[in-house]
């Protein structure tokens, strides 16, 4: 057992449902108790979805516990088959069905005989995989199923398109800025003269999965979801894939170069070279390169930042901050523990330390210890930042409704670099403001509140010391206060006078 207040990645069935509901005309049936359909609320509220979320529950209640589901699951599947006429019904196990150990595959087999739609049992184990892993698996499972089916029926489209084409794998519902990213990628590919064959699962149809092999290659923009599918398609059809996330100028450039390599390896008659395009975009379309060079960005040099999020975004962000903006990343971390090795390898040399954990208190403590000038993390880090008075830019799921903006906000591609530059710049206190505050000793005389994560200290500040503290500019005041209190505690001093403050300062300087 684990005492837990909060988690970064959800349970497995959420991942499965996210993939299933991203496809058009796929219905998911959860084998779960009443109240487990919270996914429908999230999709309806966060994505502001206009359509009914195609998820229903075959409810596990007392009767099911006593006698087993019996006909219930089969009836629910055949009922949905008639009501909604979906192409595919995906039976989704939950933590409850994992331990009931009913033969769900048997239900699926029986229901498949009576249904017009295809019926599948999502192959995920609640206790072994999390939301992201489950999503990756489910996508691969569905693709594999339809490829094999088409293979049997001999209508698999294996003939490549005449012009270069690509499948985009892993865009899906409730993903962090996925819809905007998808649009940006399509624009980018279009400009490279590459047509988009299929985008899955978001907006895709399972009936079109047989067309996947028509594309020349696949791209997997996010490491968390789509990689398994790409690997499967590579094995089956020798389709190459590009798994570089085009986030930031440097990575977008390597993404495009990688595409050129792939195209050249497939089509020997042409020579694909996008150097000119990359230059053009880097210099004129993306403002990020110029921004990094501009005088304002000098103020960011060597400022300390902390990065935390899913593997894809945390890695890309770390590299952007260091390589493109000259910011020092004191700690880069991810909650994708299953992908820890890749993460370490990617950020090696870019940050002072690496934190791999799914315990948000550890992340909070790390931030409190490092006291960075800005945080780039998830909604949880944003709240830690609020408490510590450190600004935070949200770069990764888990997210709020605020992270489903109506306006166009991609993180990928060249427009993405602009968005990220804004995000980073706005997260740090503006340079000149910073400077002036330092010179004039701050302009606010608010009472100082302890903002450490630990509980309040029993230290007393004398009036003189408090007013001295108030003279310190706002943005470092918290730090000075904490350092002084730390010093006082270490030296068993209960009342903090001005003397103690200076002593603390000396000891910190020494």
């Amino acid at each position: 057992m684990k005492l837990a207040y909060w988690m970064y990645a959800g349970p497995a069935h959420i991942g499965t449902l996210r993939v299933a509901t991203s496809f058009k005309n796929v219905h998911a049936i959860m084998h779960a108790p009443l109240g487990d359909d919270y996914f429908n609320v999230m999709r309806s509220m966060l994505e502001r979805e206009r359509d009914f979320t195609p998820v229903t529950t075959s409810i596990v209640d007392r009767h099911v516990l006593a006698r087993g589901s019996q006909e219930k699951v089969v009836e629910n599947i055949t009922r949905k088959d008639k009501e909604e006429l979906p192409d595919l019904i995906l039976l989704t196990p939950t933590c409850t069905s994992s331990i009931l150990q009913e033969d769900l595959q048997n239900f699926v087999d029986r229901a498949a005989m009576e249904s017009k739609s295809d019926v599948l049992l999502a192959d995920v184990n609640h206790y072994r995989v999390n939301e992201l892993q489950a999503a990756d698996r489910t996508l691969e499972q569905i693709v594999r199923f339809y490829i094999e089916k088409a293979n049997k029926q001999n209508n698999l489209s294996t003939i490549k398109t005449i012009k270069p084409s690509v499948n985009i794998l892993g865009m899906f519902t409730l993903g962090f800025h996925n819809q905007h990213d998808c649009r940006e990628l399509k624009i980018l590919l279009n400009q490279l003269g590459i047509t988009v064959n299929e985008v899955i699962p978001e907006g895709g149809s399972v009936l079109n999965l047989k067309n996947l092999p028509k594309a020349w290659f696949n791209i997997v923009p996010y490491r968390e979801v789509g990689l398994m599918t790409a690997v499967y398609l590579e094995k089956e059809f020798q389709m190459p894939y590009v798994d570089i996330t085009p986030m930031g100028i440097v990575q977008t450039e390597s993404f495009i170069r990688q595409i050129a390599n792939v195209l050249n390896s497939i089509d020997k008659t042409n020579s694909y070279n996008f150097d000119q395009y990359i230059d053009q975009q880097t210099i004129y379309v993306s403002q990020a390169a110029w921004f990094a060079r501009s005088i304002d960005c000098q103020n960011l040099t060597n400022k300390k930042a902390v990065v935390f999020g899913d593997a894809t975004h945390a890695v890309a962000m770390t590299k952007i901050l260091v390589r493109e903006m000259g910011i020092r990343v004191a700690c880069a971390g991810t909650y994708c523990q299953h992908d820890a090795d890749w993460f370490r390898e990617q950020v090696w040399g870019f940050c002072d330390e690496v934190l791999i954990t799914d315990d948000h208190t550890q992340v909070g403590d790390m931030i409190a210890r490092i006291e960075p000038s800005a945080i780039f993390g998830t909604q949880m880090e944003r709240h830690v930042g609020k408490r510590l008075d450190i600004p935070c830019g949200v770069i990764s799921a888990p997210v709020h409704i605020q992270n489903f903006p109506l306006g166009y906000r991609p993180f990928l591609g060249y427009e993405g670099t602009n968005q990220i530059a804004d995000l980073v710049y706005n997260s740090f206190t503006l340079g000149m403001e910073d400077h002036l505050l330092e010179i004039f000793g701050g302009h606010d005389s608010k009472e100082v509140i302890t903002k450490s994560l630990s509980t309040d200290s029993e230290l007393n500040w004398t009036i003189e010391a408090t007013s001295e503290l108030n003279k310190i500019p706002g943005f470092v005041r918290g730090k000075v206060k904490r350092n002084t209190e730390k010093f006082a505690r270490q030296n068993k001093i209960i009342t903090i006078s001005i003397d103690v403050m200076y002593a603390a300062k000396e000891s910190a300087g020494a």
């Binding site: 057992m1 979805e49 359509d51 209640d61 409850t96 331990i99």
Partner: protein
């Protein structure tokens, strides 16, 4: 449509129609009760013994509250717990000691979930042992989705807590209400302290003293219960608690409508007065005054139709109040209906329909959301009260909706809060009067 129905006069003696569907509806898991109970019982700590699924629900459903260091946590079961490689007792002891060290609560409430039911974890058996070992009371409530819906979670917690109330000895019972010789009265149901005060004062005006509330704002102040204690519920979903109070604590239950809306509040007070032998005074004028103060809202709702999809068990009481306001209730979905515990409320609903000369709503227990949506399409009600999973899709189809969850968290009890109910009910109607864009159906046609 609403006019069409009102024009049909009700001639024959109608009664309420009860139906039962498949139970395929959307609601919150009953463990959500920790969110309001931990705030209500200030010295408590709620430990939900379940899986990531439970945790994910809590953290998302309760939004930002999670960031305020709440007095609740998950005891997240891992594979080794499920396969019994770890000793449940030792694991729970370790966690509870940690809670004791960090928070030092007066009570730890264990919330049993679906998983603890299925693996048959003997929480009730372990709690007394651990209680003596660590010196903190441990209350066990099985608020799981196998048996209960949403607000029924509170019912299971209060039923468990009722058993922890001290016994009323004959000596103390002589002491209370000595001057009036009235039997002691304890009210049950968790309400914000402001509402507790309002209802208590309301009874005080009739010369009735409230001897205690279950729950109290501190676990250490639980009311004394015993054979001559009268109890009365303030919420429609507390049937198990009522049962426990009657059977285990030998209390006498006052079966009354619930104090929601001015009509409900008045009926509730009157019933309590009747049972305790007090003649109620000034209630009629008080009710009338409240109705007058609602005059701003009533024209907005009069003659409008409403459809409750059903998810929090407040539906019958709200339907009754809205009928009294002049609305027509097409359907009243409800997760579970205890006809005995809600008897007075059902009777009042029936009477209200007859007096207002409107058709009796169809009461659908364990509704099926899919069928309900078909009926909503046909009936085109002016307002659908529903959960958040269905609100946006219905709005996109031009149907006004109000999230039902808000009724659970808003202050809706007593005379003065009647306005808040109407504030909620009329919000979508008022918004749509102002907006020009939302009159259109905002969905793409099916291809």
């Amino acid at each position: 449509m609403s006019q069409l129905i009102t024009s049909q006069k009700i001639n024959e003696k109608e009664t309420l129609k009860f139906e039962c569907e498949t139970g395929n509806y959307h609601t919150f898991c009953p463990i959500s009760c920790v969110s309001w109970l931990y705030q209500k019982i200030e010295d408590s700590f709620f430990l939900v013994i379940g899986t990531k699924t439970c945790g994910y629900f809590l953290q998302n459903a309760l939004g930002v509250m999670i960031f305020a260091e709440p007095r609740y946590a998950m005891a997240e079961l891992e594979e080794a717990d499920i396969s019994a490689q770890l000793n449940d007792y030792k694991e729970l002891k370790r966690l509870c000691l940690q809670i004791k060290r960090d928070r030092n609560p007066s009570v730890i409430v264990w919330i049993g979930t679906c998983t603890t039911e299925i693996i048959k974890m003997d929480l009730e058996g372990m709690a007394p042992r651990l209680e003596t070992e660590i010196g903190i009371p441990i209350v066990v409530a099985r608020a799981n989705g196998l048996d209960y819906a949403f607000t029924q979670g509170e019912d299971t917690v209060l039923a468990a807590m009722a058993c922890r109330c001290p016994d009323k000895t004959s000596i103390t019972s002589n002491n209370t209400n000595l001057e009036t010789s009235m039997p002691p009265l304890v009210l049950f149901g968790s309400l914000p302290s402001a509402v507790v005060n309002v209802l208590t004062l309301e009874l005080n005006k009739q010369g009735i003293t409230v001897d205690g509330w279950l729950p109290s704002s501190r676990y250490t102040d639980l009311p004394a219960l015993g054979e001559d204690v009268y109890v009365c519920g303030v919420n429609p979903f507390l049937s198990r608690t009522a049962m426990t109070l009657m059977r285990r604590k030998k209390c006498k239950l006052i079966n009354a409508p619930f104090p929601i809306g001015p009509d409900g509040t008045r009926a509730w007070i009157e019933k309590i007065c009747n049972v305790l032998g007090v003649t109620p005074t000034g209630l009629e004028e008080r009710e009338k005054k409240i109705w007058q103060s609602l005059e701003n809202y009533l024209p907005l709702v009069r003659g409008k139709s409403v459809f409750f999809m059903g998810d929090n068990l407040l539906e019958i009481s709200l339907a009754r109040f809205l009928t009294r306001c002049g609305m027509i209730v097409y359907e009243c979905g409800v997760p579970y209906l205890d006809k005995r515990y809600q008897a007075s409320e059902l009777l009042l609903l029936e009477q209200t329909c007859l007096e207002k000369n409107v058709p009796m709503p169809r009461i659908v227990e364990k509704p099926d959301n899919y069928y309900q949506i078909q009926r909503i399409r046909e009936l085109q009600p002016d307002l659908v009260i529903t959960g958040m999973a269905l609100s946006n899709p219905l709005e996109a189809r031009g149907i006004n909706t109000k999230w039902s969850v808000e009724f659970t968290f808003a202050q809706i009890h007593g005379f003065a809060n009647s306005k808040d109910v109407l504030e909620l009910v009329t919000r979508p109607l008022r918004r749509n009067m102002m907006q020009q864009v939302s009159n259109k159906t905002l969905v793409k046609p099916a291809n």
